[in-house]
């Protein structure tokens, strides 16, 4: 065998591995889905080959991709936990990608978002993966978009993406999720914060969490002066979740209408 033969032989084997992995992902095999995300996270060739095969499949996915962003501690994970419960009740398979910060000092990360979601750990219709930012800025891990594609290929109907706790500069979620929900809590900054550029500009839906807080109604009123869709919910009890699901569906319906080719006027 010449060196070139050996090289080509190795390449063939990689292609075989990729097509096997792609098939397992398409079957929705959890281990394969998880493995592929890891390979993509590590920038491995096998991961990229597999993703290309999956994306090349042609049929466009109908998955609803929903970003959940907001200040640290506002209640993003708890809201996602409630959304998972609600979408499961509607018979949807749900994938969750929960992003947390990598420490710029040690390279380590504590990925704790799923603590709030562990009630779904035994549900075969739910896949949850924690991702660390690994030095990527913008509020997401750099692999997030690819991980969404993997979950779409694996047949998840709803994909929820939780950003790191963000302020005003981490807006990459808008490029990954066509529907973005921003979570705010009462008593965190005044109206002027809302007027500033950032979070509220990329979100189609604003959620005031901790609706049982005495300041909740005032926050709601103030934000309504700045944004069309502002809802009040209490994530810990699930109050307001059906309205949030309805608002997400409405937003998606409007977007689909806008995307549909318009007929020429008669």
């Amino acid at each position: 065998m010449t060196r070139l033969d050996i090289h080509l032989d190795k390449r063939d084997r990689q292609v075989d591995l990729a097509s096997m992995l792609a098939e397992r992902v398409r079957q929705g095999e959890v281990r394969a889905v998880a493995r592929l995300i890891t390979l993509l996270e590590r920038w491995e060739q096998e991961g990229r080959d597999t993703l290309r095969l999956l994306e090349g499949q042609g049929e466009s996915s109908r998955a609803a991709i929903i970003g959940v962003t907001g200040y640290p501690g506002a209640g993003k994970s708890t809201i996602i936990d409630q959304l998972v419960t609600a979408y499961r009740r509607l018979g949807q398979r749900v994938g969750v990608l929960a992003v947390d910060m990598t420490s710029p000092f040690t390279g380590g990360a504590l990925l704790g978002d799923r603590i709030r979601m562990q009630q779904h750990a035994l549900d075969p219709g739910v896949f949850i993966r924690s991702l660390a930012t690994r030095g990527h800025h913008g509020g997401l891990a750099s692999v997030t978009g690819e991980a969404v594609s993997v979950l779409e290929a694996a047949g998840y109907d709803v994909i929820l993406v939780e950003t790191v706790g963000v302020g005003q500069g981490e807006l990459e979620i808008a490029t990954v999720a066509p529907t973005v929900v921003a979570v705010v809590a009462p008593g965190l900054g005044d109206e002027v914060q809302a007027m500033k550029a950032g979070l509220l500009e990329v979100a189609q839906i604003i959620v005031v969490n901790r609706g049982d807080h005495p300041e909740a109604d005032r926050t709601l009123r103030e934000l309504r002066e700045w944004h069309r869709t502002v809802l009040k919910i209490t994530a810990t009890t699930g109050q307001g979740i059906p309205e949030l699901i309805a608002a997400i569906a409405e937003q998606q319906r409007l977007r689909d209408l806008e995307a549909a080719p318009t007929r020429a006027a008669p």
């Binding site: 959890v30 281990r31 420490s103 504590l110 990925l111 704790g112 562990q118 750990a121 993966r129 924690s130």
Partner: protein, 135 residues
């Protein structure tokens, strides 16, 4: 990013009816500070929850803290479920109040290491770091 800098992913959690989480949080923080990605599941997890989580998160190892006395049952159940799912490559280690006489049998069953009270954090960090070369 080269392979050498890929962080290890470690699931740290507590199984069973045991609400003492001070030790497990210390371990989680020490591993994080050593540059690892720690998936912390919190309290009261069943072996099934732990194993499903480990597979979805594609971790290199599972570290369990057990102070309830149910270690013989819980560690074995976790190992059993991993092997049912074809995920024996995920290393299992643990800590807590585990009598010395139970240790050999648990290691025999497949628990890679057990750390008792008073173990220096550095020992645990070193053990986990060495998984990269042995796995």
């Amino acid at each position: 990013m080269t392979v050498a800098t890929v962080p290890l992913r470690i699931l740290i959690g507590k199984v069973g009816l045991d609400g003492h989480d001070r030790g497990v949080k210390l371990i989680a923080r020490a591993l994080r500070d050593a540059g690892m990605e720690v998936i912390y599941t919190g309290l009261h997890q069943s072996p099934e929850q732990i194993v499903n989580t480990a597979i979805q998160e594609d971790v290199d190892a599972i570290g369990l803290s057990i102070l309830s006395g149910a270690h013989n049952t819980l560690f074995r159940r976790v190992l059993e479920l991993l092997s049912e799912q074809g995920a024996e490559d995920i290393v299992v280690f643990g800590g807590g109040i585990i009598p010395n006489e139970d240790v050999p049998a648990l290691k025999e069953a497949g628990v890679k290491a057990l750390f008792g009270p008073g173990t220096p954090l550095d020992d645990i960090v070193r053990f986990v770091k060495e998984l990269r070369t042995s796995r």
